[in-house]
Amino acid sequence: MNATRRFLILSLVSFAISAFAFQASQIATSHTITTDDLVKILQSPKADKPLLIHVGSHVLYTQAHIPNSEYIGPASDPSALQRLRTRVDSLPRNKFIVLYCGCCPWTHCPNMKPADDLLHSMGFTNAKSLYIPNNFGTDWVQKGYPVAKGE
């Protein structure tokens, strides 16, 4: 391989490393929902309520999670991703689903993008990822939004 090709590959790798290091930030904006908007939906008596699925760490989930949300497991784990697939497979493809994690800053979350990709690859047209910029504590609990504890 000549020197020119080598440095071109190195250049591409540099960009790739910086880009792929921040997976969640690659989720399309049209696939996300803000915490404020979700709270409005949850608190509205008339709004269509989503199926809430937690795709992060169990230790974090048991400390605090959104009421009525289901725990699947960290979506960066293939076994949890399979559980997610099984859970939603029988649902109509226009079902309103909200995935969330909040383990760490959005740009570093290893769980959101795999879950988002899976649902959209399965044909779900109304699946959203809850945009949590910092973590669940800062962006949900400390804002006074509804919280449940335990399993």
Binding site: S11, S14, F15, G102, C104, P105, H108, N135, V141
Partner: protein, 235 residues
């Protein structure tokens, strides 16, 4: 007119005195000039060149331009990465000193459990982290350095893994050469410490066992070092 294509080095210290050398600035000017469609930028001859001759940067060895191009790409990649990385502001609070909740937690390797109260008299940095947490992984090498540097003065770092299972922790500890004890956390200790609802979270505890600082999110090493040295200096 152009004579023999010169083969200049990147600095005037390299190569025979008769060869023209070009600075990075000149190379950047040439690339910009050519990018705008003005063709090659003809640089005037320098003091070491034969009088009256002008050389085109285009005749330089490709290696020099490739080096500069790669440098530009790497700088852009670093700026891009930094921009994507900094989307949140780490939060630090100087808490009203209050007792750090004691705990008795097991180690992932199965060794004896560890009690926080055993470290009374030391300055403790209690770090809540997980193997899958990227910002945590960025902090840990700095903690290793701090532990090496200040252990003799009384610093003790303790890592509390919030992994759902202890399985990945020993290999991770070995890979990152963690030189401080690691214990397995759980929801209970998270709640005792005010809710560990995101990672990383670090607490600084003084020699009397009082929590003095809480850091939510990755924090730069110099910040920790300043706070640690301040606490170590307290009697």
């Amino acid at each position: 007119m152009w004579g023999t294509a010169p083969k200049p080095a990147l600095s005037k210290a390299e190569g025979p005195p008769s060869e023209r050398t070009f600075s990075y600035t000149e190379m950047a000017i040439d690339i910009a000039y050519r990018s705008l469609g003005f063709g090659n930028f003809d640089f005037p001859c320098g003091p070491l060149c034969p009088c009256g001759e002008r050389f085109s940067l285009h005749e330089l060895q490709m290696k020099n331009r490739r080096t500069l191009f790669l440098l530009i790409v790497l700088i852009l990649a670093a700026i891009y990465a930094a921009h994507r990385y900094v989307t949140h502001t780490p939060h630090v609070s100087s808490t009203q000193p209050h007792p750090a909740p004691d705990f008795n937690l097991s180690q992932p390797t199965g060794g004896p459990s560890l009690k926080l109260s055993d470290y009374r008299g030391k300055v403790v940095l209690l770090d809540f982290w997980a193997t899958w947490c990227e910002p945590c992984r960025a902090e840990i090498p700095h903690f290793v350095d701090l532990q090496n540097k200040y252990a003799a003065q009384g610093l003790q770092i303790i890592g509390v893994s919030m992994d759902d299972s202890p399985d990945p922790v020993p290999a991770f500890s070995k890979q990152f050469k963690m030189n401080y004890p690691v214990v397995m956390g759980n929801a209970k200790i998270g709640e005792q410490y005010g809710g560990v609802l995101g990672l990383p979270i670090a607490f600084l505890i003084d020699r009397q066992g009082q929590i003095r600082k809480k850091h939510i999110g990755a924090t730069e090493a110099p910040v920790f070092e300043k706070e640690i040295t301040d606490l170590l200096a307290e009697k």
